[in-house]
């Protein structure tokens, strides 16, 4: 099917690639269907483009690309709601905010990642432990910290 988007023009998407967030995202309950658009070849960034609202696309990234020791422990409710079993492939992304014109100041919301069941393509924004994570981790310094830890361990 063809999908018209504000940022990326008209794109071709397969029905089976559509991700469903039955409860929407936190604070955005009305948008439920999305597609993932890779930002560029080899890039850790993705766009979560709404199928329902052409102007809505959220920037996401693979958290482990930046924060090697990121821990996602899901609550029983999250596991049940996503229908996850031990072997189910799951995809995890975090939302990224870049202030206009300031890529070096980008932050990641490590507190509330998006978790997607790779089989059913059903997703949910979960909330992790408030003691460990918050909504605005500066990514460049996280990368640096994680790199130093890896080197210290190695």
């Amino acid at each position: 099917m063809e999908l018209s988007t504000t940022r990326f023009g008209t794109i071709e998407v397969e029905e089976e690639d559509i991700l469903t967030f039955p409860e929407g995202l936190i604070g955005l309950p009305l948008l439920k269907r999305f597609v993932l658009i890779q930002h560029g070849e080899g890039s850790p960034f993705r766009w979560l483009q709404s199928v329902e609202e052409p102007g809505f696309a959220l920037l996401l990234a693979d958290p482990w690309w930046f924060v090697g020791d990121y821990q996602v422990s899901l609550s029983d409710q999250d596991v049940a709601s996503l229908g996850l079993e031990e072997q189910t492939p799951k995809w995890v992304y975090v939302t990224i905010t870049i202030p206009p014109g300031k890529p070096h100041a980008m932050t990641a919301n490590l507190l509330a990642p998006l978790v997607i069941n790779g089989l059913t393509r059903q997703g949910r924004q979960v909330i992790l432990d408030e003691e460990c994570y918050h909504t605005r981790h500066p990514l460049l310094s996280e990368m640096w910290r994680s790199l130093q830890q890896t080197q210290a361990a190695g």
Partner: protein
């Protein structure tokens, strides 16, 4: 909204399995205990608000501000 007055160590039941207990009142602060099944998520309201705000900000990020893949240190060293 239902409004109830409670004293320290008194509680409120919500349904059969959620209990809210007033543990301590000190000046403007109230310590509250929540007994709920593990499947019930319990978070402070500010957490939801912070996440909602961040979702909206992430949706305002401009594609031209996203670093290209080849500017990443890992891609350079590969």
């Amino acid at each position: 909204m239902l409004v109830l007055t409670r004293k320290v160590n008194q509680s409120i039941m919500i349904g059969d399995d959620i209990e809210i207990i007033v543990l301590e009142v000190r000046g403007e602060q109230v310590r509250i205990g929540i007994k709920a099944p593990r499947v019930v998520p319990v978070h402070r309201r500010e957490i939801y608000e912070a996440i909602m705000k961040e979702n909206l900000l992430a949706a305002q990020t401009r594609p031209e501000d996203v670093p290209p893949a080849d500017s990443d240190p890992e891609a350079r060293s590969a």
